[in-house]
């Protein structure tokens, strides 16, 4: 039973990886030129062997969200490198010390580099990293570390959210759009801020409805499709005709509501048009992409090529680390304006806010 399930997830993840690869082809081109150690010199068949440790946040592999995206990055790296991995995941309601022990476990077992998925590891990483100066650590969504062996991988989620906001503003006929956040935390508020700014940049008179499924410390909002569905239905009934979610696993509830109400929805993190059911697909306008997969992939490859850099890397529009999906053709008429704003953000003439 377990084996069957894990095999199925592995297939799903592999599929996701392939998908993510094709999607972020444009975004990773820039990064590949700088960090494609193994890939660039492609003619040599001998792959370098690396032992990579991954510490997931709660949910681990198979959460169809954040952790899976990181796993997809790992799978991508496997194409160029001979990778032995060990993937451990967090459990609900564990202490900081248990997180630290998990990182220590990977470090003492000889895994190098080690990637911590999620800023929840920030505190424990600060304690563990100094004890293993020869091991390189990466951490997603946190750039607070000043240690010489830690690299923070952060994203400009506000910029990708801005672009889907521009899409929503053009697609709405009722001048009313919605945003559903999973859990009200500063990270998710960044999505909200960018989205609202994008909508207002196109037409300040458009109304933006905002709702969060749960409030920290209650994290159920990232995995509660039923509630997301009710909230989305409320927004559609309240006059919205495009709703964007930044709610992880809860997003499927939004898509159900969108299909039922025949209204538009916007996905998050990965291109959710690709993973939605056939009846939902026509209603998924676009998705705000967050290149966690690219970040993990690049981090592993750079490290293998001896290009580890302490400090932090910001994956923004300029670096191609975030973006928007164009797989649903209904986005096509809106692309010109989105690209226009994208160029302005990259040029620095528009600064996207990070707090609502």
């Amino acid at each position: 039973m377990m084996n069957l399930r894990s095999k199925r997830t592995r297939i799903a993840v592999a599929g996701l990886a392939v998908l993510a690869m094709t999607l972020s082809a444009c975004s990773s081109s820039k990064n590949n030129s700088s960090g494609g150690g193994g890939g660039g010199t492609g003619s040599t068949p001998a792959k370098k062997t690396v032992k990579v440790g991954l510490a997931y946040d709660v949910g681990g592999r198979g959460d169809k969200s954040f952790n899976d995206l990181a796993a997809a990055g790992l799978e991508k790296a496997k194409a160029d490198l001979n990778i032995q991995t060990k993937e451990l995941s967090a459990v609900q309601g564990e202490s900081d010390q248990q997180k630290a022990d998990r990182l220590t476990l990977l470090a003492t077992a000889g895994y190098n580099p080690i990637v911590a998925i999620g800023f929840a590891y920030a505190g424990s990483l600060a304690k563990v990293a100094p004890k293993f100066p020869n091991i390189h650590f990466g951490i997603i969504d946190d750039n607070s570390s000043k240690l010489p062996n830690v690299e923070g991988l952060v994203f400009a989620e506000n910029e990708s959210s801005f672009l889907v906001g521009v899409a929503a503003a053009q697609a709405t006929k009722k001048k009313n759009v919605g945003f559903i956040g999973g859990v009200q935390t500063p990270l998710i508020q960044k999505f909200q801020a960018g989205y609202a700014a994008g909508v207002k940049a196109v037409d300040p008179s458009i109304k933006v409805q905002v709702a969060y499924i749960s409030q920290a410390p209650d994290f159920s909002g990232f995995n509660d499709p039923a509630k997301a569905k009710v909230i989305a239905e409320g927004m559609y009934d309240g006059g919205a005709d495009v709703v964007y979610h930044a709610a992880g696993g809860s997003g499927s509830g939004l898509f159900q509501a969108a299909a039922a109400k025949k209204a538009l929805a916007i996905g998050v993190d990965s291109d959710q048009y690709q993973t939605a059911t056939a009846d939902q697909k026509p209603y998924i306008l676009t998705s705000a992409l967050k290149g966690v997969d690219t970040a993990v992939d690049n981090f592993i490859k750079d490290d293998a090529a001896g290009k580890f850099k302490a400090g932090s890397v910001r994956f923004d529009l300029k670096a191609g680390g975030v973006g928007y999906a164009t797989s649903n053709p209904i986005i096509d008429p809106y692309k010109a304006k989105i690209e226009d704003f994208k160029a302005k953000i990259i040029a620095g003439t528009i600064t996207v806010p990070t707090t609502p």
Binding site: M2, K86, E87, L88, S89, V91, Q92, G93, E94, S95, D96, Q97, Q98, D101, R102, T104, L105, A109, F119, A120, A122, G123, K127, K131, D141, D142, N143, S144, V154, Q184, T185, P186, L187, Q215, A216, P217, D218
Partner: protein
């Protein structure tokens, strides 16, 4: 004396049987999965006994212990305080905010923070007492509801405009950190562990001793146990049951307030609604059941629980799902309840036989028979 000893031995026997039963069930599941139970157990033992694991176990157990004692105070009086979870989280949050805001001399500040936490915990549980005494609301219902309300209240209070602050870690919101003069240093109990045991482990020991003394050696404790066994009988013998309910819940809540303190004062120094440990109140219920509401029993139960939590971490590294330990934990709680009940019945029957034997007239059938006839 001899009787007490034999009862103690029986209880230990019941616990061992339950643990063995849980280990057996887990082994069967592992075997069905195709893993070797002996390999799993030896891996867990090896990893669980390394110094750094021992450190984590001791620290987790400290927190579990406080939580379980808070639950046990209620259990002793047949009150189900399911609300320890909400009580400790709200208490930790407000105490952290208080500790970050006031400036008091070293020593006084720590005590003040702990007192604030106890006060908040007691007040939150006090609401439950109030509802139960005045309106007859079952404490099971009201504590569960108050857990949710506590979550909402914390979320509200942690807004940056009220008590929350953007922390150094980019995506976190915490209370103002408590400065050095308000922290509690760790103890170097385990050499080579690469860390320190929470200084407040001392507090857990004190709470355990106090619990034992108050419940077993004071009039209040006697009333508490009497009310727990039969409220109507206690009332008939002059116990003010309502007063007992209020006092017990306040004590339970005050103790729950302490649950967050070791980590707050010894490690994180600020409350974060994102990274502060949640769910300890529910773990406490299981541990109190496992420890039979006895301060020593709970200590062992807390250590066992923490050991299972920690040693399971190694399993993932070997491709065995660490969730297997949750099965062990669940089975051990269930089987310990069954085992104690069996032992209790057996002991009762045994006692009846002994007493019956002692009261029976000297074996003179001739004398006994007429007496029975007349009766």
């Amino acid at each position: 004396m001899r009787e007490r000893l034999s009862r103690l031995l029986l209880n230990v026997f019941a616990a061992v049987i339950a643990a063995a039963f849980a280990a057996g069930i887990t082994s069967i599941i592992l075997a069905v999965r195709g893993d070797s139970p002996t390999f799993v157990i030896s891996q867990m033992w090896t990893y669980g006994t390394t110094p750094s694991s021992e450190l984590t176990i001791l620290n987790s157990a400290t927190v579990y212990y406080l939580s379980a004692i808070a639950v046990a105070i209620g259990f002793r009086m047949n009150l189900f305080n399911i609300g320890v979870d909400g009580q400790y989280r709200l208490a930790a949050m407000l105490a952290a905010a208080f500790g970050g805001a006031v400036s008091l001399p070293n020593g006084v500040r720590q005590v003040a923070i702990i007192l604030v936490a106890m006060l908040v915990g007691a007040s939150w549980a006090g609401l439950v007492a109030l509802l139960k005494v005045t309106r007859g609301v079952s404490e099971v219902i009201s504590t569960i509801m108050l857990n949710f309300i506590a979550t909402g209240l914390i979320a509200y209070l942690m807004r940056p405009s009220i008590l929350g602050r953007r922390s150094a870690v980019a995506n976190d919101v915490t209370t103002t950190p408590i400065p050095k003069s308000g922290q509690v240093g760790g103890l170097d109990l385990i050499p080579k562990a690469g860390g320190k045991v929470y200084g407040l482990i001392v507090l857990a020991v004190i709470v355990g001793v106090l619990f034992h003394v108050v419940v077993n050696r004071t009039r209040f404790g006697f009333d508490l146990r009497a009310t727990g066994q039969s409220a109507s009988a206690a009332a008939a013998s002059g116990v003010n049951v309502k007063k007992m309910i209020v006092a017990t819940l306040l004590l339970s809540g005050a103790c729950a307030g302490l649950v967050g303190m070791p980590a707050l004062l010894g490690d994180s120094h600020a409350y974060s609604s994102i990274t502060f440990q949640t769910g300890l109140g529910f773990t406490g219920i299981a541990i109190a059941l496992l420890g039979r509401n006895n301060p020593v029993g709970i200590a062992f139960a807390a250590i066992l629980w923490a050991f299972l939590d920690q040693s399971a971490q190694i399993l993932d590294l070997n491709g065995i799902p660490k969730e297997i330990v949750q099965i062990t934990q669940g089975v051990v709680v269930l089987s310990v309840v069954v085992a104690y009940e069996l032992v209790r019945r057996w002991a009762l029957a045994h006692q009846q036989r002994v007493v019956g034997g002692a009261l029976a007239p000297p074996s003179d059938p001739a004398a006994a028979t007429p007496a029975q006839v007349t009766a």
